[in-house]
Amino acid sequence: MFKAKTMTAACAVATLTMGFAATTALAETPSWCGPNEASLALLDGFGGNSWRLVTTASGAEEAAKCPSITQYEYADGQGDTQKAISDINSMAARGINAMVVFGDAGPAVLPALTNAHRAGTIVVPYRVNVGGEAGVNYAKFIGSSFFEDGVSWGNWIKEILPEGGNLLFLSGPAGNSQGIDELAGMKSVLDAKYVFINPEPFAVTNWDPSLTQQVLSAEIAKNDKIDVIVSDFGPSLVGALPVFAEFGRSIPALATSDGNSLSCFWEQNKDANPDFKLFTVATGNDNVRLAVQWAVALATGGTPPTDEIFKAPVFENSVSGTPNPVTCRPDLPGSIYLSAEMADDAQAKAVGQ
């Protein structure tokens, strides 16, 4: 009964929010939304996790701000390169005017993108580098500055640890360019006083919580002194951090990306762990918004945004409280991202909870 009521309330709120958003959109059309009508497709290489669900919903929300977009399509490549390529081809064949593409497979999707571009579709790949060049293979690539993330983390580490110390950097699959860029960013601000104790260039976790747990427990057992853990996927650490308790040690400072489950974990454990400071950069769901703005601007004859690279802003800082103190929303699912522009309730709906 209670659940049903909550659901009704949530639906009502969601409807109101959407209604409100629609009114605002009608009231003031953004400058990137031009007068020419167009259709838009969002193509995902892999859509099966909460980050992607929130990102996809954000893309749809952004496109809905422009009344000139008459048709909106979405396709999920399901982690299958062949399907991702055939999705691109079929959208182009259907005469979609603009497509925003998360090219997970990297350069493998470039030929399909190039064909669509030559056929006159506005193609905007984002976040993952697909190779090629703007104007030849596609209209515009909207990257994300992982280097900047590294710089933000590095600066914070210098603040809390002016005398230097031991850093443990965890990233995803071996050799992923995101981790390498982030490391370069950190190294640009940190000098030799700061020692990376992980194997070069980063400890491999595949962004898998279970592997992260194993890697972390091995590193903790090996190193008596870990001052800061840096990770580019904060929520995957939630399962692993309690390992410190096994060794009777405090969880150290953490520089990472945000997630509701991580913030709530910090809330619950900060008192028992005196060294546990938390610093997060936005996890970057809004990267898709910038890409949608570019695609819509080019397809409808609007004014393109000034930014060409999405720079994830600093989100939480448990030490200074600026720009935000750590915010936990226990009433909302752990798998949403409070840093995203999308409303919290809408995100909860997007991840199906």
Partner: protein, 343 residues
């Protein structure tokens, strides 16, 4: 070597080893594990420290449980590639259906077990009764199970319930509960396989289905049941993962397929079917897990970690699959013949 007594002594030992043949896999895996522990103590003491083990043993327990499941299928000359889907489905059912609430935990676990039985029965009918190739049938089942994983979860991870975290992630008398689960399952499997009529028949059918059929045993039924019990093992492993890992992904089973086969092979179970070695399988799981912990503790690059694990697998297959003695005799014979030819 010239000493006759010594030679006689060695002959005696060899004779004893032959008479204790079932222990061969056990001896090899125990010696390898002890050697690994010594190597760890010298080069990477942190890998065998109490804290290090507390962190890594639960994962060894998981590998042990899926390994025991895979062993049952391998004993019947089969292969179960639906392991990944089975484990992942159990993970998402326990995390999603319970919705983070302890009250619904046990009903969701019951549902997960029911799903495992259904998947196992279908596998069993396809392979045991309809005689489909095990690899083909179970790979299809894996795809179906992943369909169910997406239907339940949408691919989204969810945080486990506090009770589940306590059950699977907690400790009793300083031992991780997951390890206790693995040990209890091992004892049950060992007892049933080695001390009950059903178990003896199961092994006999694995060793020679034609002879077993001639002896009047229900070969199809036993072969089919291997898949059902294998799925139940995967399901238990998945349920435990949902407690050990606080926010498990929907694809947690993927990384377990290779280790499951590796421990079965390392423990000495023939890929052609026959005897199973549950205790050796569990020790092999500890060995394999400790090996990756060792690689992590030494701090070798990721590429080297993968290579070390692959070498362990090759070593395991090498020890059991090749007939070293026969090969040596053949070689000796050949060189002798060559010598004669030259003369």
């Amino acid at each position: 070597m010239a000493n006759y007594q010594q030679t006689a002594g060695q002959g005696g030992l060899a004779f004893e080893l032959r008479s204790l043949k079932p222990a061969r896999g056990f001896v090899t895996v125990v010696i390898s594990t002890l050697m690994l522990i010594v190597v760890c103590a010298i080069f990477a003491p942190s890998a065998i420290s109490a804290g290090g083990l507390a962190g890594s043993l639960p994962f060894a327990a998981i590998i042990a449980i899926v390994g025991l499941g895979q062993m049952l299928v391998v004993q019947q000359g089969g292969f179960d590639l639906s392991l990944a889907g089975g484990v992942s489905l159990a993970v998402v059912i326990t995390t999603h259906m319970s919705g983070g609430s302890d009250a619904q935990l046990f009903s969701s676990i019951a549902f997960a077990l029911a799903c495992a039985v259904v998947a196992g029965v279908v596998n069993g009918i396809l392979v045991g009764v309809l005689r489909l190739n095990a690899i083909v049938a179970t790979i299809g089942m894996n795809a179906l199970l992943y369909g169910a994983v997406f239907a339940v979860s949408g691919g989204v991870p969810r945080i486990t319930t506090p009770l589940m975290a306590q059950i699977a992630g907690g400790k009793t008398l300083g031992i991780p509960n997951s390890v206790l689960f693995a040990l209890v399952i091992m004892l049950i499997v060992s007892f049933v396989l080695k001390k009950t009529v059903i178990g003896r028949r199961f092994e006999a059918i694995g060793a020679n289905p034609a002879a077993a059929h001639a002896a009047g045993l229900k070969v199809q039924l036993y072969q089919a049941m291997a898949y059902v019990f294998a799925q139940l093992h995967y399901c238990v492993a998945g349920i435990l993962i949902s407690g050990i890992t606080r926010e498990p992904t929907a694809f947690q089973g993927d990384s377990l397929l290779l280790p499951s086969v590796a421990v079965v092979v390392l423990a000495g179970t023939s890929l052609l079917g026959g005897r199973g070695f549950p205790i050796s399988t569990v020790i092999a799981a500890f060995f394999l897990n400790q090996l990756s912990q060792f690689a992590l503790a030494v701090g070798v690059p990721f590429s080297a970690q993968t290579i070390i694990q692959a070498l362990a697998l090759v070593f395991g297959i090498g020890v059991y699959s090749l007939r070293w003695k026969q090969a040596a005799t053949k070689r000796a014979l050949k060189s002798k013949m060559e010598e004669t030819d030259n003369v």
